[in-house]
Amino acid sequence: MTQDTAPPLEGRGLVCTLGGRRVVDGVSLALQAGQWAALVGPNGAGKSTLLQLLAGLHAAEAGELRLQGRPLAAWPPRERATRLAWLAQQGEAEAELPARSLVELGRLPRHGLLGAPDATDATAVALAMAETETTAFAARRLSELSGGERQRVLVARALAVEAGVLLLDEPVAHLDAPHQLALLRGLRQRARDGAAVAVVLHDLNLALAADRVLVMDRGRLVADGPPADAALRAALVAVFGHAFTVEQVVAAGQPRWIAVPSV
């Protein structure tokens, strides 16, 4: 496969064992450019571990993983970091640094540890901060920000990389509804502009707005498809123990799928 036709990120038969448990048990998937995918599943399904595997932060015991057709491990770390951005779940950032300096770290892979940021870097940082509405507190200490504000700064850090592959672990945690929506719209736009985006989400209604839903259960990828796919919706309801049903509604003239709790 040539670099042009290869999916941005592709894993086959990925396996990861943590503490004697197969947390990821033979997952194969390919993230596509121009598509944003929601990764969902019950607690402990292995979503975060899968994302870390895909980001190259854990070595997989079995399976192969390719970034733009080239084995992930074969990329020099810095070059890989400009093509793939990962956002940690419940990111830590308690320090007294100014918020902007954290976002600027997203440009570190491009200009290098000993290099200096240039105008392109400054633009990327400004864009990412505008998109996450963090510009207003760019000069404030991280430790003075609220949980939601800090989360947006961390997301801005990941966006500032302007990577072709975006892997975000619960980016909407701590965010209020308007900021959740703004963030997801921004991610969708990044996908439309050509990025491959995968996002772990707990809010199923947000997940059902994605182009594609990846459903995980006990380390396996049990369903993979657009929300319009009936088999996917059935699998989604099943892995959450029928705690809800998925109904179709028409919002703003568009058919949409929503999860309704079975109370």
Binding site: P77, A88, G91, L113
Partner: protein, 341 residues
């Protein structure tokens, strides 16, 4: 004065880093002048009359105290950044205990040979032997910690190994003192910390250490910024963390080793200097390291001048002063945050 004090204890007013640097430099300059004038008879401005005294004793001591303070401030900021803990200090990773043990060893060996070594009584050779031992001991303590932690891959393991090495080496030193009690006095002087033995050779060694450690540390400061995001995120940015952390630990050891070799285990300067800077300005680690070095220089030289004039013609050990003032400052900070109230 009042506004400055309010700035130091209340947090949320940020000054510009350049203005803080300028202010610290001005204070440092004033302290240098005081340091040149402060002698056994209090402050003296009879420069011509004191020329020899100033050139031989006060100038190297003043310069040396400022340089040692800068190294400790730098080491404190490095340590707090590496371990992402505002209470980390330069002495964490076995450096202090290693230096203490080495000094005690040399003192005890001197006792066995019938030579009375001591910082106060010994000649230039004894001084050189003691500071050399302290430097080697500090680096050795750190190396032992790294070996026990199997490198610098896991910061928590590194910290624990540092604690264990500290306890072990301190116990060995205590045992040694029991066996040869004549080492006790010299060991106490080293443990408390003192600026009274700084000569031109010490100042030169300190300047060399700072000239190597500070620029390198500032160049690598973005690693400390990235560590704020956590280990995994920093790795995802393409940073070779274990190796970079090892380099930073080595710089920490170098800065700490150089300082303690000349002034002993002066307390609190390394811990307080970065706190002071972070209270006053919102900066990334590059500026924090440089400003902490400057703040450390001001703190230790300030304490040195105070140690000379407060009870002149007697002299206070500088380490006692830094402990009292540093401790009081931290307590004040905690109090203002309401954590002790």
């Amino acid at each position: 004065m009042n506004t400055l004090v309010r700035r130091l204890v209340a947090t949320r007013t940020a000054a510009s880093p350049m203005r803080l640097a300028a202010a610290l430099l001005l204070v440092l300059l004033a302290l240098v002048l005081l340091g040149l004038a402060a002698g056994a008879e209090g402050l003296s401005t009879a420069w011509a009359q004191d020329a020899a005294l100033i050139g031989d004793i006060r100038a190297p001591r003043t310069l040396g105290a400022a340089l040692a303070g800068a190294l400790l401030g730098l080491a404190g900021a490095l340590s707090q950044g590496l371990f992402r803990n505002p209470l980390a200090d330069p002495y964490l990773l076995g450096t202090a205990a290693g230096a203490g043990l080495a000094v005690t060893l040399v003192l005890a060996a001197g006792g066995l040979l019938g030579v009375e070594l001591g910082l106060a009584t010994g000649g230039a050779l004894a001084r050189l032997g003691l500071s050399g031992a302290a430097f080697v001991g500090a680096i050795g303590g750190m190396a032992l910690t790294l070996v026990m932690a199997r490198g610098a891959t896991r910061p928590l393991t590194l910290l624990l190994a540092g604690v264990v090495v500290g306890v072990l080496l301190t116990a060995l030193g205590d045992l040694l003192v029991l066996a040869s009690p004549e080492a006790l006095r010299g060991q106490r002087v080293f443990m408390i910390g003192s600026t009274s033995f700084l000569g031109w050779d010490s100042a030169a060694a300190l300047a060399l250490g700072l000239a190597v450690a500070l620029p390198l540390a500032v160049r690598l400061a973005r690693v400390l910024d990235a560590l704020v995001l956590g280990e995994a995120s920093a790795t995802s940015l393409g940073l070779a963390l274990p190796r970079l952390r090892l380099v930073l630990v080595a710089l920490l050891a170098l800065a700490t080793g150089c300082a303690v070799a000349q002034v002993g285990l002066v307390a609190f300067v390394g811990l307080v200097a970065p706190h002071l800077v972070r209270r006053l300005v919102v900066v990334r680690h590059g500026a924090l390291l440089a400003l902490s070095a400057l703040a450390g220089a001001v703190l230790l030289l300030g304490a040195d001048v105070a140690a000379r004039v407060l009870v002149a013609p007697q002299e206070l050990p500088v380490g006692v002063l830094t402990a009292v003032f540093g401790g009081a400052y931290l307590l004040l900070l905690l109090w203002r945050r309401g954590r002790l109230a």
